[in-house]
Every structure is written in C-alpha cells, then in structure tokens.
Symmetry: C2
Subunit: 306 residues, 2 copies
C-alpha cells in the first residue's frame, strides 16, 4: 500500500484521494469565486459517524436547492466519507463534504446552468466550535449588531459559506473579549451564530428559533433528547428580549454537541456556570453518543483493493 502521510487528514477531490494539505479549489472555480457551493459536516467520535445518512440527506437537499448535480450518488458519497476517515485513521474527526459549481463548459454561455459540478470531501482532526474549557465554564456570548443575511436573499437551510455577517459578528465578540456571537434577523428575532443553533431555557422549557437558521442535525438531536428527558421543547420565533431574559442559553453544533453559555452581553446567567437544563442535555448527548446513538462504525482496516 501507499506510504502517503494522511495524519493531518485525508481528502477526496473530484475522483482522487490525497492528503488534506494537497486538496485545493481552482482559483477560477465559481465555488470559490462566487461562493457558489453548498456543504455539510458530519462528526466522527470514538470511531463512529453520527447520523451519517441524515447529513448526506441534507447535503443532497442543499445541492438540489442550488441545482448542483455532481456525478456521485448518495451511496458513493457515503463510501467517500468513510474512506477519507479510514485513510486518515482519525477516531475523532470533522468530516466535510462540498459540492462546487465548477467552471462553465467550453463553448457555452458562462452561466451557472452550464457548469460541471464537482464534489470534494475531507476528514481532519476534530474541531471544537467552542473549546471544552469554555464549554465547562459556559461560553461568554454577545448579541451581534450585525444582522444575519435575510432568508429571502440566501436560504440558511441550504448550508453555505456566506459568512461575512458571521465573521463580522466574530470580530464584534473578539473586540469585547467575548467567546462568540448570536445574530438576529432584521425584525429582532434570534437566528443562529457562526456554525451553531441557539437555544434559550425559560422556566424549564427549551425554545429554539423556527426561522432564519440552519435546521441543524444536532438541533434535531437536542429536540429528541428533550423528548427523551421529558423536557418541553418549543420550535417557534424567539425574540431577543426572550433571549436576554432566559434562565439559560446553550448552543448546538456538529463540532461540539451541546455547548452551554454562562453570560450574554456581560449579563451573568444563573451562577455564571452552565445551567441545570443545559448541563443535563449536554451530559445525555455524550452519554447517548458513547452508547452508539445514530452511529455508523468505521472499519479502519486496510482495504484489499486500493
């Protein structure tokens, strides 16, 4: 077998496997030049994917929404994702799949309808959106002044790299020494943050926005956990006033699971530590994960055929 070093991660680009450091996007690809691309991210923990087929299903729905049609079938994407993890050898991995618009085919009008769409994927060592140290004390969040890009312009349910508003919000947080930021829509409703969904806890009930945000798969898992733990969970519009008045706030993402906050715009929630409901959900999330919840175990053995 090859002696290629996949320790920093393994990638698949347009039919070929390679170390992630060699994986790149042509500078003329509209996936980069027009951010005309969708993606998804699935986590591997203790050698098993979490909700692999749910992620592939959402990825396909995002591609269809943007009229992106790569050559690879869902079954092939599944094999590719497993293969990049297998090659990397990583037991805890952040696994991304992208579909890029590509370039217009020669001789045709340079229009997005006339491009050959391209699939890429990679596995790298696990990434935390909020570090474990910050999760333990509870994240220090702000409500950003920058509003989230409106749904009418860019559908947040189609996972995308339109992060200029999220990046600006990250700088807002950085400038006041906070860990991260939550963005509102133009009407003052809570949407999401850079790579995560937002939850408020009030009087023992969990509330998460029904609009302006990605329909996160970890969010879906939190809703299932609430049912399991007999915690009321409401998916509905959430105003910034409700968020500010909440007993607890927590975040959810593939790259971190359930992540409690302890401060919002400097206001201390509870005893400046993760609240009881957030803590319970976080513990149950990892307990279920360890028990094989929605798991697809990776076979890391060498394949007999390259």
């Amino acid at each position: 077998m090859s002696e290629t070093d996949y320790s920093a991660g393994a990638a698949y680009v347009d039919g070929c496997y390679m170390p992630v450091g060699e994986a790149s996007v042509p500078i003329l690809d509209w996936g980069y030049r027009r951010s005309d691309v969708t993606y998804d991210v699935v986590g591997v923990w203790q050698g098993a994917f979490f909700r692999l087929d749910d992620h592939i299903g959402r990825f396909r729905a995002s591609m269809n929404a943007l009229r992106l049609h790569p050559e690879e079938t869902d079954e092939q994407i599944r094999e590719i994702l497993i293969e990049v993890v297998r090659r990397s050898g990583l037991r805890e991995a952040y696994v991304a799949m992208d579909c890029l618009r590509g370039r217009p085919k020669p001789g045709l009008k340079p229009h997005p309808a006339n491009c050959r769409n391209r699939l890429t994927a990679y596995a790298i060592p696990w990434v935390w959106v909020v570090s474990p140290e910050v999760q333990a004390r509870g994240a220090n969040l702000i409500v950003a002044h920058t509003p989230r890009i409106a749904e009418a312009s860019v559908d947040p349910r189609v996972k995308n790299f339109h992060w200029a508003d999220l990046t600006r919000a990250l700088f807002e947080a950085h400038d006041v020494g906070a860990d991260n930021a939550i963005l509102l829509d133009g009407a003052g409703f809570v949407t999401e943050g850079p790579g995560f969904n937002v939850f408020a806890v009030q009087d023992g009930r969990v509330i998460t926005p029904d609009r302006g945000a990605l329909e996160g798969i970890t969010r879906r898992s939190v809703i299932e956990l609430c049912a399991e733990l007999n915690i009321a969970c409401e998916v509905r519009p959430l105003t910034v006033e409700e968020l500010r008045a909440a007993d607890e706030v927590f975040l959810a993402t593939t790259a971190g699971g359930v992540m409690p906050a302890s401060r919002l715009d400097g206001r201390i929630m509870g005893n400046d530590r993760p609240g009881p409901v957030s803590t319970r959900l976080r513990a149950q999330y990892w307990q279920n994960r360890a028990a094989g919840w929605h798991a697809t175990t990776v076979d890391y053995s060498e394949r007999t055929t390259a």
Copy 2:
C-alpha cells in the same frame, strides 16, 4: 527564460508566479470555506490597464474594512498585477486580485483575527459580462424576485463573493430566456446585478442608485462621461417603478464597459435596440479608452531579471 506556458493566463499566489491553471486555494482556507475574502478586478485593453490605481485603492479600502492585511504593499500589488499581465502576454485581459483570510496560526484560537492573510492575483483573457452580440442588440433583462443581500449584513461596497442571491437571479433570468437580472433591496429600490451597476435614463437624465450597490469604477467613469457630454446624472435612490418606466436602461462594469439593455421583464424599451443616451455613452467610453483615458500602458518586454 522559462518556457512555462502562460497562454491561458498567469497567476500570482502567495509569492509565486504560475500558469493560472495551477493557481488554487487550499480547501481549508477561510477565503473559500467562509468566503472570507475581498477582491477587485481591473481591465486591460489594447495593452493598457484602465484606472489601475483606482482599483488598487478600492481593493485596499475593502481589505481594511474586513481587517485583512496581506504582506504586500500597494506598490507591490501594482507590480504583481503588471507582471501577471506581462507574463500572460494578453493585450485584452481580465485581471483579478484577491485577499483571503487564510488559516488560523497554529496554537492560537481559531478566529479570523488570528490568521495569516494571503494575496493572489491573475490575468486571464478578457471576459464579457454581457457578450458583444447582446450589447449590440441590447440586453434582455429581468427584475429578479430574489432580493439583494442587505447592506446591514454584507456591505456591497466591499467587493465580495457572496453571490448566492445573484446566482439565484441568474437562474431566474435563465428560466425565462432573459440575458441577465437586476436585483432590488427589501424596500423595492434598485441595487445592482451580478457584477454590474445599473443606470436608468429618463427624459435625457441618467440616474444610478446611491445605495445597495458596489461603488463601481466603471460607474464612476460613466458619471465622468456624463459631465463630459453635458448629460445630467443623478446618484440617488432609484425605485423599481422608475426603472420600469425608464426610456433606457444600461449596465456598467469593468468586464464590459457601458452595456445597453433593450427589454425589461419582456417590455420593449424604445425600438427594441439600445437607446440614444446609452449608445452615446458607450461610444464615448470606448473612444476615450482608445485615446488612453486613465491608462497605464504595460511593458510586455522580457525582464532582464526573473
């Protein structure tokens, strides 16, 4: 000298020159993964740049707005742009400069404030946003249903790759057989289209939006041409009703100059041909260009030092 084939275009990536086909963006670079990047495009026609220093100045302002600080000075960027054109040998070229966020430096929090920003540039054969054939008959435009991303979320004066709304508008045009699309803001004011500014002509006066759009350098040139030709020009809010009632509509961009339209949402303007004011401005634009207006001539001779 090298026998490298630059005929498809020449690129500069992070300190090195290469054929444009070899130029790429690492798949993990936030310039791609978060579209955390700004860019500018300057044209070369008959071997001369148009308003080169204006483009570099705007590029620097965009980088500052996003807190992007590459190693290269404005003077070095100028030399790089000239060098990619010289290497390509192209007398008519589309010349782009990008500044990407890069990746977080090892050991630091993965935050945009902690990245090494990277510069790229390239020259490729001239690209027309609207083909010369369509310009001659006048473009068939639509007003898109998709609204432009709001200024409060992403500043359109900072040139960016957040094109999902523009791409959707291009599909809207494609689906009804139109050539291109104009986008409105949430309040029904005209903004811009995919890569161009918009102008209406009413009773001999030229009107272009003062908001929601890139402050285009060709737009600035059109304002100068209006002064030269003694045509009244207003930079102010432009409603979609005014656009629909206009005698003429034209577009302006680096990659095309002044580009007349002849239909809007199927309505024929004038005699279904470019109108007289648009035609006059277009002719004067190219006449001035040929006469060396705002030109920086490229020296294509081999350099004595590589």
